[in-house]
């Protein structure tokens, strides 16, 4: 994962994945503001997601029992709390989930969220 391109480079060329149809200026600027964020290992990213899930997903079970593969919806996350989670993830990782990614299977576990964020970061970097 590489970080640190100046914002200008983001306007060069087409996105490498169909996930984002057209990265607009706003998302480019947002990403440039994310430059201080250090590159993370997968484990660090999942820990960070885990903390955000703990704060926002309002699960009905004890959080200690939640593993990376636990289905968060089955653990009590509602569509309302999933929206709060999505917004918190966007803030913490400084990105925007495109509409096509706002799907139940993307947010169903810490693993699937990490996978989605990684894909987005690859496209946006």
């Amino acid at each position: 994962m590489t970080c640190g391109y100046p914002a200008l480079f983001l306007f060069c060329g087409a996105p490498t994945s169909p996930i984002i149809a057209s990265p607009d200026m706003k998302s480019a600027i947002r990403i440039s503001s994310a430059l201080p964020v250090e590159c993370q290992t997968e484990a660090q990213m999942k820990d960070k997601i885990r903390k955000i899930v703990a704060d926002h997903a309002r699960l009905g079970v004890e959080f200690e029992r939640v593993e990376h593969s636990t289905n968060l919806y089955r653990a009590g996350m509602t569509s309302f709390s999933s929206v709060a989670l999505m917004i918190a993830l966007e803030n913490e990782f400084d990105l925007e989930f495109p509409d096509g990614m706002l799907s139940r299977n993307v947010f169903e576990s810490i693993d699937s969220i990490a996978d989605a964020i990684e894909r987005l970061q690859q496209v946006q970097s």
Binding site: G76, S79, V83, D99, L102, S103
Partner: protein
């Protein structure tokens, strides 16, 4: 009773003599059904005679393999004659689709579908529950393993706040938490034969409209085979089938009710025009406004139907679980339920006191009373609140 092995297309079904007879019978009894708040047994029997209850079952299980557009058409035609019959047909087909589209490889359910067609079984649903505040996606009651049954038998007890035609159905689909320790949103769907299910009405069904659906609350208690639990989680069944099927078919019931009211208003205006040839009666202007509203109403449904048909086959099916689709299908329900009331209200203004009368060819009181139920079946306020939250992350704004 002979049931056709396979309908070639929707026209063959809706134009069939036996379905036309069901439509006539529905129309013939609609006023009595409404006045007495009774189940439209004549029309439902006629639908059985036409084989219509098995229509949504795939041909391989003996059904007609009808898709949602065929079912919408039939629902609309029925609801124009008798809203209760239209709603009962719609709800039954929603239950059939929930089974057909999520049975995976369950032999029990495949066998059940064959039986459902052969015996023209009517399925009701107990997705509501006292104490969950109208949220279908939450359950209090849970499925338990029957003690000493080595996990092959299960039992449950549930207080459903409403079960439409619960006292007249053959089988019941019930939402439950998947186990006593499960979260309220971790649900499954269980099919039980009502002959083996204890159900006790919890109250009366004496309502403003939709009186013939006979939908009081019921206490439900049953023991059944573990195989009678649909293999897919209810979350998936709801997102991919039950919610879109419900909103699309219900919307066709409401379009049917509105069309009936519009047709009465149109007859009224024609009658006025005939009394005074050469002059366009003042009520004609309001009727023309109403026809604009009806055109929008129909277009709304056609768009939703087309999108669902496109998405529902193959890979598009996962799109049904996205925030964007949830927003759009909720919008359909809200818009259609409001359009139905608006059309009936304006038809009343066109017809005046002849419309206000409880009888006669221009009476639209029943249609208006029925239409008022639309905003309450899954409360519009709940859907608006859901969309308000979803729109915080969904940006496209389609």
């Amino acid at each position: 009773m002979s049931i056709p092995q396979r309908w070639l297309d929707v026209q063959e079904f809706t134009a069939s003599e036996s379905f036309q007879r069901a439509l006539d019978i529905a129309a013939q009894h609609t006023e009595d059904v409404d006045r007495r708040g009774r189940f439209p047994s004549e029309a439902v029997d006629a639908l059985r005679a036409a084989g219509a209850l098995g229509w949504g079952v795939p041909c391989e299980y003996g059904g007609a393999g009808a898709k949602i557009d065929d079912l919408s058409e039939a629902t609309f035609e029925l609801a124009r004659r008798c809203s209760a019959t239209g709603m009962i047909f719609a709800m039954h087909q929603i239950q059939i689709a929930s089974i057909v589209r999520h049975l995976a490889n369950s032999l029990w359910f495949k066998d059940y579908l064959r039986r459902a067609v052969r015996e023209q079984r009517l399925i009701a649903s107990a997705t509501s529950e006292v104490g969950v505040g109208g949220d279908m996606r939450k359950s209090i009651a849970a499925l338990e393993t029957l003690p000493g049954s080595s996990n092959d038998r299960v039992q449950f007890e549930k207080k459903a706040s409403t079960i439409s035609y619960g006292a007249y159905a053959d089988d019941l689909l019930t939402t439950l938490r998947c186990s006593p320790g499960a979260d309220s949103g971790d649900q499954v769907l269980v099919l039980t034969n009502l002959a083996d299910t204890q159900i006790k009405p919890l109250g009366e069904w004496d309502t403003l409209g939709m009186r013939g659906t006979c939908s009081p609350g019921f206490g439900v208690q049953a023991t059944c085979l573990a195989e009678q639990v649909l293999p897919a989680p209810f979350a998936v069944i709801a997102a991919e089938t039950m919610v879109p099927f419900s909103h699309i078919l219900w919307a066709h019931v409401w379009l049917g009710i509105a069309s009936d009211a519009f047709g009465r208003a149109q007859h009224f205006v024609r009658g006025q025009a005939r009394q005074n040839p050469g002059n366009t009666p003042p009520s004609a202007l309001r009727l023309s406004e109403l026809s604009v509203r009806m055109a929008g109403f129909r277009a709304l449904l056609q768009t939703a139907l087309k999108e669902y048909v496109n998405l529902t086959e193959g890979e598009g099916r996962t799109t049904l679980s996205t925030v964007g689709y949830a927003v759009r299908i909720n919008n359909l329900k809200i818009a259609a339920s409001e359009a139905a009331v608006e059309v009936c209200q304006n038809a009343l203004r066109v017809c005046g006191f002849l419309g206000y009368s409880n009888s006669g060819p221009y009476s639209v009181g029943r249609q208006l009373r029925d239409a008022y139920s639309a905003a309450l079946m899954i409360a519009n306020d709940r859907l608006l609140a859901t969309n308000a939250a979803l729109l915080l992350v969904y940006r496209e704004g389609k």
